[in-house]
Amino acid sequence: MKETEKPEKGNQIIEEAAQAEYKYGFVTDIETEVIPKGLDEDVVRRISALKGEPEWLLEFRLKAYRYWLTLKAPTWGHVHVPDIDYQDISYYAAPRQKIASDKKEIDPELKKTFDKLGIPLEEQLRLSGMAVDAVMDSVSVKTTYRERLAELGVIFCSISEAVKDYPDLVRKYLGKVVPYTDNFYAALNSAVFSDGSFVYIPKGVRCPMELSTYFRINAAQTGQFERTLIVADDDAYVSYLEGCTAPMRDENQLHAAIVEIIVEDRAEVKYSTVQNWYPGDKDGKGGIYNLVTKRGLCRGDHSKLSWTQVETGSAITWKYPSCVLKGDHSTGEFYSVALTNNWQEADTGTKMIHLGKNSTSTIVSKGISAGHSQNSYRGMVKIAPKATGCRNFTQCDSLLLSDTSGAHTFPVIEVGNDTSVVEHEATTSKINEDQIFYCNQRGISTEDAVGLIVNGYAKEVMAKLPMEFAVEAQKLLSVSLEGAVG
């Protein structure tokens, strides 16, 4: 009987999903303070003033803004970002809380929103055992477990608070890994960034719980420009998770974030993302443009940075979480599953820049394309002449589920010495018909079989996710595939 039970259960998940389509697509009815659309120096000044920032940060923003004016949007990606009218976006939106803003209590409406998203903002809900920084539009709503973490010296708060409470730390590290001159979207973000998380793990501390930021876009016609900064001092360890959702809207919304990570001697940072922004409807209408710059600097010897990402949402994804392996014996990892369906476009991958001796890196990228979507892996492995004894292994596989979708790989390898070994492998094929037939034979419907095979295909990456996320991500994969099998 077991065989027949299984597909029923599987069907249930898919049916649920089919009814809900994108189940995070609701809008929270909350009064939001939105500054008028448009972007000029006054807007930058106003954002800075709204957040009560010091002079140096305003200077940083203005420099970034002036530099941004000289740039053109990049067109090299295998995605079709339409001409975005940057004057037609509001750059700051803050949900107006009815309760005083000392953050001891939060607006019940907001709490309800995050409950609905499955994000516990109440610390009584110990079960999840995860500290959360919840960000809605441009502001951080609540950061949980702050006191408990503070006992260990771990700083976990929104970046706006960090600017006020730890200005020296922020000033020391902000813009050091991703300078505002890095690219078009990084310059834009540096000029108008709103909220995000700041994490500092002091020397020798192993962060006892997973830290998590949950990003939510709610207000219409706004862009979200979050900024996250993570610093792991010598011998520290932290595992950080990031999740994101947005309501279903017909117009496209922009999300241009920067994540900077600094890893010192023997420290380790694990950064996991489950990206589930609204991908647009089945005709490709609406959805988030997810144009993100993420980079980590493994500054210390024996440091380690690991990126894991599950990308299922967004109309357009343009993101390359990278590692600059500056310390000797440092390690960079990148594990990615990118699933595109309907008219989604994803151009994602990584850069591993080996500068330190005997540094190693691993890249495993699994792309799945369905519907009319385009899915690209773009990566670079660079070994500097002085970085001797380096090792890289790259594997990027693509699975095509429809004859109208596309899968592409654009890797670049540059090796500057004779003691490093770099390997790259890539394959592209469609789902194995024999495997589907085998499942069919045993009473598993084609749709379930595809879900099963895709999950097996992505297992290598899923295994790297923290437990709570892995379950979520697995469900997400089968849901996103709904309707993809002809």
Binding site: L400, L401, E414, D418, S420, V422, H424
Partner: protein
Amino acid sequence: MNALQQYIDLFDASRDVIEQQSPELLNTLRRAAREQLQDARLPRKGSEDYEATDLEAVFAHDYGVNVNRLPFDADLANTFHCDVPNMSTCLYYTSNDAFHSSATAERNIGQVVVEPFSMAAVDYPELMSAYYGKLARMSDPTVALNSLLVQDGLFIYVPDGVIAERPIQLVNIFNAALDMMVQRRLLIIVGKNASVKLLACDHTQSPDYRYLNNQVVEIVAMQGATLDFYDMEESTPLTSRVSSIYVDQHEGSNVLIDGITLINGFTRNNYHVEVNGEHAETQLLGMTIASGEQHVDSHTFISHNAPRCHSNEMFKYVLNDNAVGAFAGKILVKPNCPRVEAYQGNRNLCGAPTAKIYTKPQLEIYTDDVMCSHGSAVGQLDEEALFYMRTRGIGIDEARRLLMQAFVADVIDGVRLDALKDRLHYLVEKRFAGTLSNCASCAQACRVNQEK
């Protein structure tokens, strides 16, 4: 700086001379080429598809161009041999950019047509006008420059159903007492169910001068045609070469292109293959052995425009000293082309701390029912294998040579001419041993050695 400008100026100044000395057909493309070059710039290092290669710097040198087509050395057949033992070929020469035939060239008569454009324009005007300049893309400034200045070329035509018994051997020689740029041009048409093997080798006779070969090859393989094209370069450190090969493959055709670089200065090889018919098969092989300041950059693009095709690429580099190797390959499978199988491999041996390798293997797939893969690796010789050989009394240098030979062996084994295969194994062995002097493969040099 714009390196192209000097050649545009030269063209503007001597347009009449150039046009008078060329077949009329070649003049028809000059206007388009001139327009294309008006605002064009040669790619600099770091631009897309030129990660390691600076064409601007290559063309910047003040090369002489023989617009008046003065003859240099007419008696090539007697002074220069490039023999492959045990292989009887129909031998042709290109001295700089002028074409000469030799005594052995007569053997294929009645089967295969090999003649300069100036004759082909009279003998085969329809074929010439139907295919000349139709495949090469003028958007590439080096192709536009070739079309602008080219005054003659070589036309190879294998009529329908003809199986060429002997391979055609084309020896391209630089021999001039001045720095010189030439525009070599080839148009190869292999008719329905015809078959031919072509062996081309580039040599430089006077090593003290700088030469630049800006070459364009257009290949049309008709239904069921088979073409083997072995393109070997063994020149001097002062010789530069920019070669663009364009291939149009029809149904069931089979094309093998093998690019071998043993000694050179600067080389950029572009391969652009359009697979337009079902069941067509494409093989691109490449082997580079580079040391000193050699620079070899290969760029391949295979576009699968029809279902059920097969392509296979394998490029191997062995780099020592300050050599720079670059490989960029793209496989494109267009929509509605199921059952395409396309494989691409690039393996590199980096033998010195200062050698550099850039590789960019790419896939762009728009059909789901395909089997495509690429692999790329950069590494060193296996220490354990070296150790094993040393325990058996083989010296370290000898062991290295053996392993390097084994590394490139599978590219050589892809050659579909046994005699040439043996010869290549021999040449590669000598190259690794460092005893392959310039033109060592030439019969003349062998005779000189024997006399000693």
